[in-house]
Amino acid sequence: MTTPLSGQDVARQIGEHLPDAVTDFDETAVFVKGEALLEVARFLKENPELGFDYLAAITAVDFFEHFEVIYHLTSIKYNHSIVLKTRCYTRESPTLPSVVSLWRGADLQERDIYDLMGVAFEGHPNLKRIFLWEGFQGHPLRKDYQSAT
């Protein structure tokens, strides 16, 4: 059974190493500041007891006043999982550090989010639109997207 770790003690472990990274937590997820995302991710991956070596999915949700980017991480060695969430409040061009350097699997998923949701990931090797053609204006999955018709 993949045991989901409780958000609280993961937040506590992160808090010991990176004091001001964690902003909030609930029973399954840990909320982290946007800037500290890369260090937290590195900590979660390299830490021997946690060992989150498998990035299952990255999702972006548009809550009008903020974007929420959710990372589902799993550890194949210990068979446990955690959900890492960040929020960015700017609406024009929200940017987050890219985690491609840690998990190669994030490459296409981040390009997917950049293309459809408009959240840029700096540090990504070739951040280009993945489904829509280069000259496409706007990001369709945003709630306030007005299609051309």
Binding site: A56, A57, V61, H72, R104, I130, F131
Partner: protein, 367 residues
């Protein structure tokens, strides 16, 4: 003085006999060897995630058929489980068993399609493809008997399945299961030790285990690289913990192992279906769920072991009848991150075979 040849760039266009759908690769050659390769997506992008946000939870079920159109039952199963997590609905026992039978039959049909197409790319003139399609037809007959359609089933509902199985379904399924093991042995006899197949696939496109995990590859590709990770065993959903079946894993992670893992998985799936058939309880098949369900505010992520890999649905609900966010974790798209690493240094003929062994479905890649 080296022979001056400038690299040739060939467009493996969206319209090509061996790109399993509208998938395009821009390959740069030096002589015959591949120097650079860049996949281009988006030719089948229908924007299912945006469409789903303006439809109720039940109306989205037919849309999930169109994601990985070669394994529609698994898509239905994943989506419906996500909604049940979201709304906290309990599913009756008989429906769980029926879902397992349908999902495993779908896995066999999808693997038959994958291995048949792979052999076709290798040049076997449609013969293995025809044999495997004969078995796939039998499975489609069974599905048609249960839900009326052969490709887009729309069989599963939130809280169970749409209808119970007719009484002539079980004898037909029993006949199919008994014959299937014989047919799989036939494929092995035709292909497993075929010297030309070995020469074309052994050691071609090796995917090391840690690169596979790092690139979040899932499904037969991950297990072919030797990583024993199958969600049916690691995180058993519905009633999978009541069946015993092994998880076949390869040794080197090359094209031959990927082929071998898929053949073994077909055998294991027939074992699961046989056990599920014996333990099938009686009872009704569908919990009382209003057609326009309004799940409480919140989010849920459900994932299953689809034939192509870990298929996950992430739903966010805001008390209305339509999902606020409908995200599909498509295994085919993420498995493609390693396509470039596997193909570099090999020849065009190998790139086609490696691409065939990854087995993607464009409906799921471009959503």
């Amino acid at each position: 003085m080296p022979l001056k040849t400038e690299p040739v760039m060939i467009n493996f266009g969206p319209q090509h006999p061996s790109t399993h759908g509208v998938f395009r690769m821009r390959i740069t050659f030096d002589g015959e060897v591949i120097v650079d390769m860049e996949p281009i997506f988006g030719y089948l992008h229908r924007g299912i995630e945006k469409l789903a946000e303006s439809r109720t939870y039940t109306q989205n079920i037919p849309y999930t058929d169109r994601l990985d159109y070669l394994a529609s039952m698994s898509n239905n199963l994943a989506y419906v489980m996500a909604v049940e997590n979201l709304a906290g609905i309990a599913v009756p026992e008989r429906a769980e068993y029926l879902r397992v039978i349908m999902a495993e039959l779908m896995r066999i049909a999808s693997h038959l399609m994958a291995v048949g197409a792979l052999l076709n790319d290798m040049g076997a003139f449609f013969t293995p493809f025809m044999y495997m399609f004969r078995e796939r037809e039998k499975i489609l007959d069974l599905f048609e008997m249960v839900c009326g359609q052969r490709l887009t089933y729309n069989y599963m509902r939130i809280g169970g399945v749409s209808q119970d199985i007719p009484e002539e379904f079980l004898p037909a399924l029993k006949r199919f299961i008994d014959e299937m093991l014989g047919f799989i042995d036939e494929y092995d006899q035709l292909l497993a030790e075929n010297e030309i197949l070995l020469a074309r696939s052994k050691g071609v496109g090796i995917l090391p285990a840690e690169l596979a995990i790092n690139a979040s590859v899932s499904g037969p590709m991950l297990r072919a690289s030797g990583v024993k990770w199958d969600i049916r065993r690691a995180d058993p959903y519905s009633v999978y913990d009541r069946f015993d079946f092994e998880i076949p894993t390869g040794k080197m992670g090359d094209t031959y192992d990927r082929y071998w893992v898929r053949i073994q998985e077909m055998r294991q799936s027939t074992r699961v279906v046989k056990q599920a058939m014996e333990q099938l309880p009686q009872g009704e098949v569908r919990a009382k769920v209003p057609l326009t369900l309004r799940p409480p505010k919140g989010e849920a992520y459900a994932r299953i072991e689809a034939p192509k890999g870990e298929l996950g649905f992430y739903l966010v609900s805001d008390d209305s009848a339509n999902p606020y966010r409908f995200k599909v974790r498509a295994p085919s798209l993420i498995n493609l991150t390693v396509l470039r690493d596997l193909c570099l240094g090999w020849k065009l003929a190998d790139a086609i075979v490696i691409f065939g062994s990854i087995d993607i479905c464009l409906g799921e890649v471009d959503r």
